[in-house]
Amino acid sequence: MSDEQETIEQFTKSEYKWGFTTDLDTDFAPKGLDEDTVRFISAKKNEPEFLLEWRLKAFRHWLTLKEPTWPNVKYAAIDYQDAYYYAAPKEKKELLSMDEVDPDIRATFDKLGISLEEQKRLSGVAVDAVMDSVSVATTFKDELSKQGIIFCSFSEAVQEHPALIKKYLGSVVPYTDNFFATLNSAVFSDGSFCYVPKGVRCPMELSTYFRINAANTGQFERTLIVADEGATVSYLEGCTAPMRDENQLHAAVVEIVSHKGADVKYSTVQNWYPGDENGKGGIFNFVTKRGICHEKAKISWTQVETGSAITWKYPSVILRGDDSVGEFYSVALTNNHQQADTGTKMIHLGKNTRSTIISKGISAGKSNNSYRGLVRVASKADSARNFSQCDSLLIGDRCGAHTFPYLEVSNKSARIEHEATTTKIGEDQIFYCNQRGIDTENAIGLIVNGYCKEVFRELPMEFAVEAQKLLAISLEGSVG
């Protein structure tokens, strides 16, 4: 055993020497990250022993890992000791109705244009709102529970359905997976849990809005979605955050289990604060999203990424079962000094597995946008098929677009197609629109939305509309 391993072994086996007291009235975990922090979070949430153990194992593993340097992004080193790892809104009590939600918190939602009541009444979307790590409101739960569907905050699921959590947590993204996922496993604060039982088609789009509100609070969301045999569910996640000056770390994990014949659609519109036009501030977004498909199952990721100073994200599908299907539709827009390194991994293990990748990158300002995708076909994956299309659109001449496709094919019957294009929005396209009375900003919106059409049509209707507006807003002032 090497010295290093020995040290770790000792460390992990040693009794907790310093003792641990939890001040349950404290709303912040002490600044910094050590085992105390992990225990504090677990204790705050009144978690069962197995979960604390899991967190601690993750934390100890994390200490052995180094932050990855392969992504095509640059940022100042993150001081993981200079952040809070847990923050709860004050006044945490059982809420019987929306009226009981803290008016300040509701005002924040209103400013963001998302009134829960509106959501509740008009759109028929069940909303589980996560404000600074703790769920403050859950709606439509009764209707869902009639069908046996569980849709609640992760913390609640830990209390109410510990067996399901124990069975599935880390089953797709193990706590050893990667630097950020391991960090998340140690200190995750809250998130969403969804379970759809056998043969049930979830009657509504499930939606979670994430917010980052308290200064200097890292956010570590954890989402787990399980669709049992033959179940169908469509899950929406939308994010936005108020202006902020300091960089904020965000390392979320999403796990999806799609059992035999199940169909899971996961859509994201991500609009976190990207920093100002000089590159100051903005969210660091390091996300691990992965799903596993059993026989004849399907997982479809659709993402529209317009926010964050740094995006590091590769929603992936492990096609374990025969005849399973994975899809990835992505629009990633970067402006000003934003950096995005995003893409997907399609891992073909089963026979006749199929995957589709449609990636649309848009770069403006001085931003950098990279597509990074892996298609792996294992030796037993007979007749696997993949189609990839990676397009880059440049606006102006100070931005960059990069494509890093990786192919690992170990089965001769595989059929892999890859198409890639890079185009610039032409002055003549804009002038053509101008000449028809459309101003330059609208013209760019029109051209960009046309370019992203293949992805937008995969989004649920209300999200597609939101996404189109978001692109236009994100590109404001990018040409001129």
Partner: protein, 254 residues
């Protein structure tokens, strides 16, 4: 409606227009002809406000306003329309979405309310017939994969929908076979009225058999060197442009 005085313009440092004068009144159709490189397309692009064209001197008054001071979209909203010689493709943007955006942006600028989907489609169906185009065409992306003839018909179709006061057709006849030429011409003729004016920029006389102009001008070496009625076009068809070069050279020398 349009008063161009001593207009001088350059593109990429080369002076193309060298003191051009032209007056166009409502209800008139003017044909601007001339040899290649004479400045026909430059004139069309300068009027539409294309950025690459630098105005060196002179003035353009449109409806009492200083046209050269207006942004391209403001010119369009004020009723200036350019049928492009080479219409550009805009992938993924459907024709009907494009036209609806254009029309409603213009209506908004004029203080009118936006057309709803029903009224909009009623309007464009009627205009499609003018240029003999199928409704399926509306669901295609702007100019994407269009044949040369389809692109030109599309320009005239847009002109019909947007109903400009001053339309400039830049070589709308180029690359068209005779049937397509007739279709395009019929579309344009249907839009002639006492309230609007049309400038037809063309190299060949044959379009003028179908769109009969009130005035014909010859633009050569950046200036209008000769003006006349429709018979001038026929004379040009027979004799070419060379005799005019000599004539204008003589005029300058004198």
């Amino acid at each position: 409606m349009l008063k161009i005085k001593n207009l001088e313009a350059a593109v990429e440092g080369n002076q193309i227009l060298k003191g051009l004068n032209l007056n166009v009144n409502a209800g008139e159709v003017h044909a601007v002809m001339g040899p290649n490189g004479g400045g026909k397309s430059t004139l069309a692009n300068v009027l539409a406000g294309r950025e690459e064209y630098e105005i060196l001197s002179g003035s353009v008054e449109y409806d009492g306003q200083d046209l050269l001071d207006m942004a391209p979209e403001d010119r369009a909203r004020a009723g200036v329309f350019l049928a492009f010689q080479y219409p550009v493709e805009i992938p993924g943007v459907g024709m009907s979405n494009f036209l609806k955006t254009a029309l409603n942006d213009m209506r908004e600028a004029r203080g009118e309310s936006a057309l709803d989907a029903m009224d909009f489609f009623a309007l464009i169906r009627e205009k499609l017939e003018l240029v003999n185009m199928d409704e399926k065409f509306l669901s295609r992306a702007v100019n994407e994969g269009f044949s040369g003839g389809e692109k030109k018909r599309n320009e005239v179709f847009q002109m019909a929908v947007l109903e400009p006061k001053l339309a400039i057709l830049d070589e709308t006849d180029s690359g068209l076979d005779i049937d397509a030429l007739k279709t395009v011409a019929n579309g344009v003729n249907a839009q002639r009225s006492k309230d609007n004016a049309i400038i037809v920029v063309t190299h060949y006389q044959r379009l003028l058999d179908y769109i009969v102009p009130d005035f014909v001008h010859v633009l050569s070496d950046g200036r209008i060197v000769k003006s006349g009625d429709k018979n001038l076009a026929l004379q040009l068809e027979e004799q070419g442009y060379d005799w005019l070069k000599n004539e204008s050279g003589a005029a300058v020398a004198a």
